[in-house]
Symmetry: C2
């Protein structure tokens, strides 16, 4: 059963905002301003009976008085006004209504739940599809629409669905800083009509979408979710963070998005069966989306690791082993090439490559990584930059930048995917901090997948590589 | 059996550096320069037959020609010269010899291992205690001594022992950025004579040391390690990161510090029995040292969580539950105070407190946290700052700073320990990044324990709180 084409939800030709406000500190203003700042190309109709103009757009007293066709209405008025807005959408033949409006079933109040049911019933009767309630709605940079004016303009191919609003904002802001480009993002809140299952099923065939992530607290329609997920996961990588795994989290989910969270083990089994990749935290979700979007999927589980000192090598080996990755020794041809250059190292050097023992040998961690990547003995690679070592040397900046340029070259020439490990900027010396931030930015701008710890890189590869 | 007093190792009155170098890009220069830059108060004697002066100190051709008493010799010459240095120390009555010198048993080479054994035997015979070989040695800001000139000058009460050198540097740099002040730090490398067990046993009674962390790859003397650890852990919090847990990691450890890594499960059992807190990664080690050093140890496992949106609340509940922390509901008196101010919230608001539903109620997450902390119903608290929300509001900076000031007040007045969650600065907008960095710095400078994710705060509390 193919679902409805949701293209006009994410790429509406004209948008009306009911409850648009002149108060710059209100969502009713933000939605309008976001369209202005994203240079939305269609008509924008703020609806407000007491304003002439909002964020540079002419305002209209009612939805019925808008002069042109509208694909999407964004609704920011209190809950008791929503049935009237549904009617107005029905009258105007408007296909999509996004309800930012909340304080419905998630409050636990019986009257509010009854009102939510009434809204659902009316929308069904009038043929209006609902996104929300209690959700921020749509962020789709390519469609020039966003739920917050300050979100990044960068467009890309990563779709993201979130039951929670602030969480969606966090994932977008943090994801872009990690190098992700977002395509279609939806915060569906209580998921009253448009469910994550239907959205996933539609994204399966969306040509703009190459990777899908989702933050889910619970679903009302388990079967539909599974079908949509399976359909999507059969065509592209889908990463799911299921929150509300614990009884305590499930209780919080009920009061947040009225979600029925369900058993964690049942969820994990279902996600595995559907072919999805499971994340257990926002951090894992981001790491897995970064790996799925920026790296080729590895063909096997044999990892080559190079860079950093001996302690980093030991910890890297532990981290990879903990994720079920194999660390094959250096193959004979690589070992021979080492022996030619540095006989003393030939029987000492291993995988992971300890950079500190290479000093004075003419061999570098990047050179070793390139040899290993090209040897056919490995399916994936992890490069430890080990930036703290450079910071203690003379000409630290030049050396660190040089090493990172060589690393980029090694990765560009590599037939296997290679993740880069460069720590979070945890340092108090100003120039060191600025330098590490700037090096990280450069690597990310070059399209590399950068992880703050080897444990996180190993986890991402461990979940993406075939078993 | 009380060990030797190691005070003169960490606070030597005079230091000689054998293999001191005029080459600014060498460890033999760094050790001398570090003493200069840390304003070491005693005599410094660079030993170099071809130099008159190094880093501003007069150089001497041999150790025997040094005009005064020396407590510590730092040795940077190649391994085959070390026996002569041991003899010279013996002749001069010098109690401590730190061997930066490596390429000994860790290379796997039989001749090198034999030389290492000879050095050990000679040192024992001559009454010279060895730190190392293959280690960076001592960093003790209060004693004005450091193994790298660029390390932080901040002195404190956290001792750290590390088998690995670069790892020690990383932990120090990252730890100081997290608000840790380091006391006695030693990178003991191959641990040929002075072992982590002896060092731990001595730190147990060291009045300067309040918290101990250690990174251990393996120990030769298991019984001695256990005894020293138990002695230390009975008197102060001791956090141990045991690396080389996997077979792959153990192999890397052997070639790094010649360590026999041993079974992970045996190690975990032993650490538990000794009363130590186990860390499974450098990140956990740092988080646990931060919690142990900057927070009172909680009296129980009941956690109060406040701040951030609904998604953050759900994820916080999951994170706490995963670490075995309990999330009791709001006690009756807190609920009554909420009902007085905001009747609609009294039956909706929960623990974790979802900040997004407080809007317009006159209640704030910080106010809720203060009420909960003072209620007697909780043993510890976690405050989610939720900075991404602020960044989207007008006057973001003022509002975020105000909220953080209020948070500091709430924590200052709290009878229970409260950890702060403020994300890693993963954002591309320059002013947002600068703002979040600066807010984090301010919180850390105020002495608060700041964690980048609620999962990491919960893990730290979960391991420190009594079961």
């Amino acid at each position: 059963m193919p679902g409805q084409d949701l293209d006009r939800l994410f790429s509406p030709r004209a948008v009306a905002v009911v409850g648009a406000s002149t108060n710059v500190d209100s969502p009713g203003h933000d939605y309008v301003r976001a369209l202005r700042e994203f240079a939305f190309e269609g008509e924008v109709y703020p609806i407000n009976p007491r304003a002439d103009e909002i964020a540079g757009y002419r305002a209209y007293p009612t939805l019925g008085e808008v002069p042109g066709a509208v694909d999407l209405v964004i609704c920011c008025i209190p809950a008791n006004g929503v049935p009237g807005v549904v009617d107005a959408c029905g009258d105007g033949g408007i296909p999509y209504l996004h309800l930012f409006t909340g304080r419905l079933s998630e409050t636990g109040d019986a009257d509010a739940a009854a009102l939510e049911a009434e809204i659902a019933e009316k929308a069904r009767a009038r043929g209006v599809r609902l996104l929300g309630p209690n959700g921020l709605g749509v962020y789709h940079p390519a469609g020039r629409i966003a739920f917050r004016p300050d979100l990044p303009r960068t467009a890309g191919t990563v779709a993201f669905l979130s039951q929670s609003g602030n969480n969606a904002v966090e994932v977008v802001i943090r994801g872009v800083a990690r190098g992700l480009g977002f395509g279609k993002v939806a915060n569906y809140g209580n998921g009253l009509d448009l469910t994550p299952g239907e959205l996933l099923g539609w994204l399966a065939d969306d040509p703009e979408t190459e990777v899908i992530g989702a933050y889910v607290e619970g679903v009302a329609d388990g079967r539909g979710f599974y079908e949509g997920l399976r359909r999507a996961a059969s065509q592209k990588p889908v990463v799911i963070q299921k929150a509300g795994r614990s009884a305590e989290g499930a209780g919080a989910a009920a009061s947040h998005t009225a979600a029925l969270a369900g058993e964690a083990a049942v969820w994990s089994g279902m996600l595995r069966q559907a072919g999805a990749i499971e994340a257990h935290s926002q951090e894992q979700l981001l790491d897995l989306m970064v790996a799925a979007s920026l790296l080729e999927r590895p063909r096997g589980r044999r990892v080559a690791v190079a860079g950093g000192g001996g302690g980093r090598s030991v910890q890297s080996a532990d981290a990879c082993a903990a994720q079920g990755l194999a660390l094959p020794p250096l193959p004979a041809d690589v070992r021979e090439r080492v022996a030619e250059r540095a006989p003393a190292l030939a029987d000492w050097i291993r995988n992971p490559v300890d950079q500190s023992i290479l000093a004075g040998s003419g061999l570098s961690a990047n050179g070793m990584l390139a040899m290993m990547a090209g040897s056919g003995a490995y399916d994936l690679g992890i490069a430890n930059v080990g930036e703290e070592w450079f910071l203690g040397r003379p000409e630290a900046e030049g050396r660190l930048r040089h090493a990172c340029t060589r690393l980029q070259e090694a990765i560009a020439g590599s037939p296997i995917p290679i993740a880069v490990v460069l720590g979070a900027t945890e340092m108090t010396v100003e120039w060191q901090r600025t330098l590490v931030d700037s090096v990280r930015e450069e690597l990310i701008e070059a399209g590399l997948a950068v992880f703050p710890t080897v444990e996180r890189a190993a986890l991402a590869f461990g979940r993406l590589a075939p078993r």
